[in-house]
Amino acid sequence: MRELSHDKTLPEPFVRILLANQGNIYAYITSLLGDPRLAEEVLQETNVVLCRQVDQFPSITNFTAWACRIAYFEVMTYRKQRQRDRHMFDDHLLDLVAQEANSQAEEFEQRHGALAECLAELSELQRKLITRRYGPAGSVQAIAREYGRSPGAISQSLYRIRTALLKCIRRRLALAE
């Protein structure tokens, strides 16, 4: 973890916009790394770099794009440190994914709002399963043991729920356009 300079004061507008953008920067990094857990580490580093570069803030016209650009470089640095990790895209594909993630990051708040509504559209049983998965000790294996089901059956149900959520989010975003 790189440390912040202790004598730097962050302007309130910067902190405000940085907090407001935590979700989309996190989602952007998750897209590049393909793993929400690893993305948390890179988000920490990205936040530190953004704070260090606060001097550029007055001249930034698109904060999200700026933050994503810095996040992109942090991802590249992280990848170099973790070269032996399985399941990482090559640089070319990463660039293509980053382009798509950039555009979706711009509408993150709408997506987030749509997700809340779409979760409410699920049946109660489906909501229970999906929230259980993302809750504490929510591995598929743990859920499978809990319900006396095979991990494959739980995974299949989660696939259906995620697909339903994605379709619902798309539909709501299209309606909002």
């Binding site: 912040l4 202790h6 004061t9 962050l10 309130e12 902190v15 405000r16 907090l19 979700g23 989602a27 998750t30 897209s31 929400p36 857990r37 948390e40 988000l43 920490q44 936040n47 704070c51 399941h87 895209f89 594909l93 293509l96 994914v97 798509e100 993630a101 979706q104 993150f108 997506r111 997700l115 049946s123 109660e124 049983l125 489906q126 909501r127 229970k128 399963l129 999906i130 929230t131 259980r132 998965r133 993302y134 809750g135 504490p136 000790a137 929510g138 591995s139 598929v140 743990a142 043991r145 319900y147 089901r149 991990p151 059956a153 739980i154 995974s155 299949q156 696939y159 697909t163 994605l166």
Partner: protein, 577 residues
Amino acid sequence: MSGEMASDDSDKLLRLLSLKADELLNDEQWEELVALVSSSTQARRIYVEHMFLQAMMHRMARLTKASTALPEPLGPDVAAPREEPDRATGPARSPILGFLGDVFQAGTNFLARPPVLTLLLAVGLPGILFLILVLHVARQPAPVVPVAQLTQTHQCVWDKGDKPLPVGKDLFAGEQLRLSEGLVEITFDKGAKVLLKGPATFDASSNGQGFLHAGSLVANVPKGSEGFTVRTPNATVIDLGTEFGVFVEDEKGIAEVQVFQGNVELQTAAQGKPQKTSCQRVQAGGAVRITLVGQKGASPVISKITPPVNRFVRRMPSTPVEAIVADFSGGEGNTQVDQFPGVAGSGWATGWSVGEAKELKCVTSIEQDNPLLGGGKYLRVLVERESGGAHASTATAVERRLALTNGVDLTKPHVVSLNLRIDVLNRFTEAGDWLSICSRSIPHTELGHGWPASSGWHICVVGKGSKRAKSGNWAFLQRNKKGHVTDVNSGIPAREGNTYSFRILVDPPARQWTPSIAVNGGKWTTFKPMEMRSKGTAKKNKYWPFLHLYWRMEGGNKGEDVEKTGFSVDSIRITPG
């Protein structure tokens, strides 16, 4: 890289992404995922949408955890999972509060000011809502997960209005099957198999229990799955390691139970008084009848009977379907396999579908006058295109999907045969006028523009205006060893009024097919083996499961005759090679 992707690929990508999210993705699947994400912008859009969904769900959960003092957001009626390391939701600190902690360490005192605290609350609010959601749903019963699967079908006719169910379909708790005719095998997740004979109505209630409303079934419960239970309106049959049959006359609940092996426990309760239960054990070779006597509230009466001889079907007919047939003998309809459009079954994964295309008018009908080579009912297709349309070339198809192994094994050599009569070829004069019979890896709805070379074996005739070898004659399309699609001219002209019999020996593993043609029931001419037209192995092409009849019309100048293509098809038969 293209912009669009086939819906099969889209489904596959979503499945792979879900496996990845659940940390169940293996290396081979990762390679598939990378190939798909590389393939199109649409695939990358889906990938990023999925990743954003992951991020949002994780973030909500993290915020919930960070903004409350509760260690577990689950209600008391959900068994608390054992503590275990979990990569997905492990003890990493919150990306939000962790970052703020750094900021605090950096000495930024203003964070303690009221506006900033308000911001923190604003950021935490979604988490609080998520917590409420978690607490709310934690009180609910078990989640919706498949409890059984449809593993075999035999000559099924489903109740009117019910969609035919394909082999492999997951059955969810409470999902009701209403079978008019035929047999289905249902395999429960715990291993028990139920052979349901139509007419019958049955629910798969859980992974170890089903409810028979009416009809008959035989349950075969392997060792380790003891306790499998079949409920009926008035009785409950609990397996004690056995094979048994249950028959329910109707919703009133008069029932019979016959035990073939092992024994079962039979529980009955007085009507409306479930607490007044009686139990009885029925041994192998025994049979009982449960009847209702007297007023409401009386207990059902159980009486021993001589085991009925032919009440139950204990085995799915063991001989596989010897031939997959479509001869349209059922006429028009969508309740039987051999109708048009028909339903799935007997080796067909779907009924027939007819595509639509701009400026084409397509009429299909089942006829019986003037049959093909003395056969019975047949399918007639007439396609018309007015002259002067905006589109240079437009195409569509009649097609039906085959089940790969629920009948003839299409992954192995097999023979496809059919009769086709050309009724009309009016203004079939341009290079863009086509009539084809082929197998395809994707349905016509996914062909998009250009009708890519997704066919396996492919026989066609093209308008005489074409300079290609197949002009006016039946021809075979194949991909040669250099990878180029080439035509092989059969030398047999395609003429109105003639009936052509085609026989194609298909060898999917070898990517080869050998066509034979006979004209008007005459002598067969067999041609040299051809290569499949699309690239890739048979497996990659999903063994070309679509039987596809398609036509394309080039269109013409305004004022010219209406362009028409008409043909009749009968006696489609697919047999092992």
